[in-house]
């Protein structure tokens, strides 16, 4: 309950980039992948807000498609940003776990 009150810690940008690091996906597949990966439910408005920003920053790009399910893939810059952010998260997580261990929690 308390963890819910503290709010969502997952960054939608990282989640979308992580989902696309597994290969190109269209929007619906990204939503389903994130749901499986983290239990977080994205709506289409949230997803496409993130995708528009990532596309503008050159971190993802769209691929041609014949129907309305256009796939997106991670660019080289997107992969570099994702690696950097995940490493930072891992570092914080390591420190957190060590300190929790020292507390005996």
């Amino acid at each position: 309950m308390a963890s819910k009150r503290l709010g969502r810690t997952q960054d939608p940008t990282i989640m979308v980039l992580t989902s696309l690091s597994g290969g190109p996906k269209h929007g619906y597949a990204v939503i389903k992948d994130i749901e499986t990966m983290s239990g977080v439910t994205f709506g289409p408005g949230t997803l496409y807000g993130v995708l528009a920003r990532l596309e503008e920053e050159g971190l993802v790009e769209s691929l041609p498609s014949e129907d309305h399910r256009r796939p997106y893939r991670l660019t080289g810059a997107g992969a570099a940003v994702l690696r950097e952010r995940l490493e930072a998260n891992v570092k914080v997580a390591d420190i957190g776990f060590r300190r929790l261990g020292a507390l005996g929690a």
Binding site: Y28, G45, Y48, L51, R53, R70
Partner: protein, 347 residues
């Protein structure tokens, strides 16, 4: 309303460039999600939130001069027009001031800032008891609201002349028509002035009361005065609303130069700041009146009242909404102008 039409309506709330780029994709995904068991209401709500974000942040908007220029113009309009819509109500919602002693309403000598004597009808003047500390704030807050109203009006008049001049200099398609649209506030004001002058010319020079019967007008043209009085009310309110709509349409269509956008952006920022100050003064006025009522019960004081002070709470809600819209829009205008000035070349 079916879930499909609710989703379509939500998608229509997004800006045109976004609908062109992502509209069909999102419609398909929304259909997939609802078929998958997701609540259509939640999908629609998420899309509406996304539409607000897309409009306010413009993330992913292509770096095309016309798009960013239109965004700057619409942001300037959205920062300034809420003031035009709400501010006249602020003055009306305060009403007329009156002073009261423990014995009822009084006339007074001096000003509401420095009263000297109070006089109840038929009684000799007596030295005025002081205002409470909160009551003493009220006249200043009221004065501040009035001054801020006039200053903002002057700033917007400058902005309006800037807009009409910018349209005249621009290469906007149908420039003359857009220029006339932008002139609506000026035309409405001229019509009001003409009607006021006509009303002065035809109104009765006086009234005679025959005791028990109705007042009898002396001289003038009472019927014409009545018709003109009604017409003045209609033209004043209609012209005011038409001015807001027409200036918004003109701002949307007028393809003005970057330097003119810079001026408009500055006007929008100043308007948003003055509007926020006006809200602060109006809140101080209302809080002052409220605290005064509590302080006055613990001694002999003169109290200030306004004829429409009961409207304070709904007016604060209305003005706060308008101030938030104005503030966000002025920030969007500033950011859009910076994107333009940082190097999207005009086509």
């Amino acid at each position: 309303m079916s879930s499909e039409s609710a989703v379509n309506l939500a998608i229509r709330c997004y800006p045109g460039w976004w609908r062109e780029r992502y509209g069909e994709e999102v419609r398909t995904i929304a259909g997939d999600l609802t078929a998958d068991g997701r609540s259509p209401a939640l999908v629609t709500l998420d899309l509406l939130q996304g539409a607000v974000r897309a409009r306010s942040r413009a993330q992913g908007m292509p770096k095309v001069y016309d798009l960013w220029s239109a965004r700057t113009r619409m942001s300037i309009a959205a920062a300034t027009l809420p003031w035009m819509l709400v501010a006249p109500f602020v003055l009306m919602a305060m009403g007329t001031q009156s002073l009261h002693s423990t014995k009822g309403a009084v006339s007074f000598s001096g000003t509401s800032f420095t009263m000297t004597h109070l006089q109840i009808a038929g009684a000799p003047p007596t030295p005025a008891p002081p205002l409470t500390s909160a009551g003493a704030v009220v006249p200043f807050a009221s004065l501040a609201v009035g001054v801020l109203f006039l200053v903002t009006l002057a700033v917007l008049a400058c902005g309006w002349t800037g807009l009409t001049g910018a349209i005249r200099r621009s290469t906007t398609p149908h420039r003359r028509r857009v220029w006339l649209l932008a002139w609506t506030p000026g035309l409405a004001l001229l019509a009001d002035l003409a009607l006021i002058v006509a009303l002065i010319l035809v109104r009765p020079v006086g009234y005679r009361w025959t005791g028990g019967g109705p007042m009898v007008p002396i001289g003038g043209h009472p019927l014409a005065a009545h018709v003109l009085g009604t017409a003045l009310g209609v033209v004043a309110i209609g012209g005011w609303l038409a001015s807001i709509v027409c200036v918004a349409v003109a701002a949307k269509r007028a393809d003005v130069a970057l330097s003119d956008l810079r001026f408009g952006k500055s006007v929008s920022i100043v308007t948003a700041i003055l509007f926020a100050l006006m809200l602060a003064a109006y809140m101080a006025w209302g809080v002052g009146l409220w605290v005064q009522a509590r302080q006055a019960s613990h001694g002999t004081f003169t109290t200030i009242a306004y004829s429409r002070q009961d409207l304070w709470v709904p007016m604060v809600v209305l003005i706060t909404g308008a101030v938030i819209l104005s503030g966000f829009s002025s920030r969007a205008a500033r950011r859009s102008w910076m994107v333009l000035s940082n190097g999207i070349p005009p086509v």
